[in-house]
């Protein structure tokens, strides 16, 4: 996922194990986080979709042996989603419709490139 190199690490077995372990650790941390500062799902779900999009894009880039910058991709998506939030707030469109649906469509399109 680093900047500008071919992605061979994602197919490396120890890296995959470390990935799964760290994901599990993060999941447990998230599950046992204090309730009061818990962000609303309306923010968490797009963030999760952004991360999933970044991961899938990195995976596709590794399969296609091309360069990919995860940071740039994530920041780009974040800016795009923020813009959608602003449009939704000023236009009165519900967040589910204007933010989550486009992200879901994009992820489905990414998934179709894996098979």
């Amino acid at each position: 996922m680093g900047g500008g190199h071919k992605n061979g690490l994602l197919t490396h077995r120890p890296t995959q194990v470390a990935f799964v372990v760290l994901f599990a650790v993060g999941f447990v941390l998230g599950m046992f986080a204090p309730v009061s500062p818990l962000p609303h799902p309306v923010f968490l779900l797009p963030l999760a979709l952004l991360l999933l999009d970044t991961g899938l894009s990195a995976l596709i880039a590794a399969r296609e042996h091309r360069t990919f910058s995860g940071y740039v991709h994530f920041v780009l998506l974040l800016a795009f989603v923020t813009m959608l939030y602003v449009v939704g707030a000023f236009g009165g469109v519900r967040t589910e419709v204007i933010v989550i649906v486009p992200l879901a469509v994009r992820i489905i399109l990414l998934l179709t490139r894996l098979y």
Partner: protein, 267 residues
């Protein structure tokens, strides 16, 4: 560990945290019946809904209390109706009938050259004296006039001379003034005829006074619209910080030329 590997691990940890928070948030949303997705407007709508629900609950409680009172006999529709009729009678809004007396007052028959000629005419205060005496004697309903222009005396009635006539409830009346009062005829008659009483004084001025008892008098109800701009229920206003309701515009008073004239004669 290169920067690329660090990035992957960071990504894995962050993804795990976000997914964990998301699952936790969805669980919390389900536990509190809060919609999974919602904006500020949704929150306001939900608060309004909660408020309306509590109001509905309060009204249902009130309805149940009233129903319980009704079924247990603490309050009944007849009781409410009776109280309302009592209030209307007290306000003089209903036509009533019953035994009582009829007092007819007219101007003096004496020659107009008398120095007391002014006092030989029936004035508003003469009528007010009679009305006050009747009330003191226990009259339950009083009216002035006769026939179509009979006017009921209520708490807001005024009796006032306007030139040769007397205006009562915006109706212009002329002599003879017929005052009818429902009550105990004997008591009312004795009260008016007592030595030094109001009728004796009026007779001294030379006014024509005729008093007769009746077993059945019919008095009309007060017909003018009742408008209150300033008074409020004291029980409701206690401790309330709300401003009083907007005052209604008062009922337009009849212009003098619109006042009905009972008889053509002058006083």
């Amino acid at each position: 560990m290169g920067p690329k590997q660090l990035g992957i691990w960071l990504f894995a940890l962050m993804s795990g945290i976000v997914v964990g928070l998301l699952v936790r948030g969805m669980q919390a949303a389900g536990a509190h019946t809060v919609p999974l997705f919602g904006t500020a407007s949704d929150t306001e709508t939900r608060q309004q809904l909660d408020m309306l629900r509590s109001e509905v609950q309060s009204l249902q409680q009130e309805k149940n209390d009233l129903l319980r009172q009704l079924l247990s006999g603490e309050i009944s529709a007849d009781q409410i109706r009776q109280e309302m009729e009592t209030a209307k009678n007290a306000a003089g809004l209903l036509p009533v009938e019953g035994p009582g007396i009829r007092v007819t007052l007219g101007d003096s028959e004496a020659a107009s050259s008398s120095p007391l000629v002014e006092r030989g005419m029936v004035h508003d205060y003469d009528l007010l004296f009679v009305i006050n005496e009747l009330r003191a004697a226990g009259a339950e309903a009083i009216s002035i006039g006769a026939g179509r222009l009979e006017e009921r005396i209520t708490g807001s009635t005024y009796v006032r001379c306007t030139g040769p006539t007397v205006v009562v409830n915006n109706t212009r009346l002329t002599v003879p003034f017929v005052i009818e009062a429902i009550g105990d005829p004997e008591v009312l008659e004795q009260s008016l005829n007592m030595p030094g009483g109001v009728l004796e004084q009026l007779r001294l001025y030379g006014l024509s006074v005729k008093l007769e008892k009746s077993e059945k008098l019919k008095l009309p109800g007060y017909t003018l619209p009742l408008k209150y701009r300033f008074i409020d229920d004291a029980a409701d206003s206690g401790g309330s910080s709300e401003p009083p309701p907007a005052a209604e515009s008062p009922a337009p008073l009849k212009q003098p030329d619109a006042i009905d004239v009972k008889h053509g004669g002058s006083k």
